[in-house]
Assembly symmetry: C2
Homo-oligomer: 263 residues x 2
């Protein structure tokens, strides 16, 4: 949790299939409206555990801010469900920038601005070899997390991993909030993704691949399946795409030659 982070769940009374009372833990979902230099950008629905990083990553992934140093303050106010981002240099015409919206199939923040897909033309991710056992090790490390998912469900988890450890793990009601939060963490801490593996519990859709490509992470690992467009994007930028990674199983959809299966 960050400074302004809030608790992620609450227990409610429900009734099971036998008509018996049961306590159910539900994840919190809160609106948070982002204002960039007093201009309203968007309202995201979030669990709220790391709002500053979420906003930071959102602004970066939507290409609304180029340099971290341009940001003077990120002030979260849950009372008004608003976060005020103050930049030193007035950012360029946000209205024009946010004109072309793309509502994606992603959970959470569905919006990406049209220019983003074009930007992908320049992106080429450097190859990275990965051992089969390393994938299992990462999945093993991740089994220590997924806290809220195990307790309450209805969330998606994302993690930035090295072969040995999990650098940062976050859950949110939407998988894109989780991805953006990790992007914010990487940006704030000047982390490079080129030696990392990105894990998500969510589906490998086009937007997920685009965002991971923007983070320059060469391997994208998911417990879920992929869409054809997600695969196409991964092949285009050279990301190793691994789906259905659970327990001892996984499917390499692209970049299979980067995986060494010998144990």
């Amino acid at each position: 949790m960050t400074n302004a982070g809030l608790g992620g769940s609450s227990t409610v009374s429900a009734t099971n299939e036998h008509g018996e009372p049961v306590d159910v833990l539900l994840v919190e979902e809160r609106p948070l409206t982002i204002y960039l230099d007093k201009q309203e950008i968007v309202t995201v629905m979030t669990m709220g555990s790391a709002p500053e990083l979420l906003v930071l990553g959102y602004l970066k992934n939507q290409n609304l801010i180029d340099k971290l140093s341009d940001i003077k303050v990120i002030q979260v106010d849950w009372e008004t469900a608003a976060v005020a981002v103050v930049t030193s240099a007035e950012v360029q015409d946000v209205a024009a920038m946010t004109q072309t919206k793309i509502i994606t199939s992603g959970c959470g923040q569905g919006t990406m601005f049209g220019s983003l897909t074009e930007k992908l033309d320049d992106v080429k991710i450097a190859k990275r070899q990965l051992k089969k056992d390393t994938i299992y090790q990462i999945l093993e490390n991740l089994s220590q997390h997924n806290i809220m998912y195990k307790k309450a469900g209805a969330v998606h988890g994302c993690a930035l991993c090295t072969d040995e450890e999990i650098i940062y793990f976050v859950e949110d009601v939407g998988r894109h909030n989780a991805v953006d939060t990790i992007a914010g963490h990487m940006w704030l801490n000047g982390l490079s993704g080129d030696q990392c593996v990105f894990y998500t519990t969510g589906r490998l859709t086009s937007e997920m691949v685009i965002k991971v490509a923007q983070m320059n992470v060469p391997v994208l690992l998911s417990r879920s399946g992929a869409t054809k467009m997600g695969l196409d994007m991964a092949q285009k930028v050279g990301i190793t795409l691994i789906s259905r990674a659970k327990g001892q199983r996984f499917q390499v959809l692209s970049g299979g030659d980067n995986i060494s299966y010998s144990v």
Copy 2:
């Protein structure tokens, strides 16, 4: 599938955890840009099986069009990934209407316009009794569907059901596409939801409840879990909210007194 509906999946060659080649079926994900009287509204990512109904339901759920008779033509053109909606009466200022975006935690179309949550203040859903066995019957009927989910995963399914049968079932890469497609089907065919049960494979977030409330469906049934805000909304409008409905199990989060457990 509707007239302009496209196939939903394609098979690709992948590699399993043993380095062996495997065929994997992936769901298609396609961009589709909606133009309302030549004004660009949004680009949704969709499987594409029922684009006309999806667009129809989207326009209704976003309150962009009030009367079905106002729509003269919905022309889908996959070549340009665009759908042109022509109305008889020029719809009121879309720009102003789309100003307040809410990117929700929903899969698929994440955008809802701010006014929507306010509109909910007027909504009150009439109670509807439901037998425990009816819930099982509905789940049994649904087991005949979820076609793409079983084959390729990475999709969400939604269904409009009566106690006896499934009126309409649809899958899409985003659960909100699926919900909107059903809304479009109901709108086009003048179906009332007051005697229905709405089923979704997706999570019961605030936006999901809002949309089902707009369809006046008194019971919302999901295989997944809910968020606290989703529950709050359901209690506010009087929707019976049932989560974790799988096999012989389910949890009634709100409206428990509407369920008769006696067999």
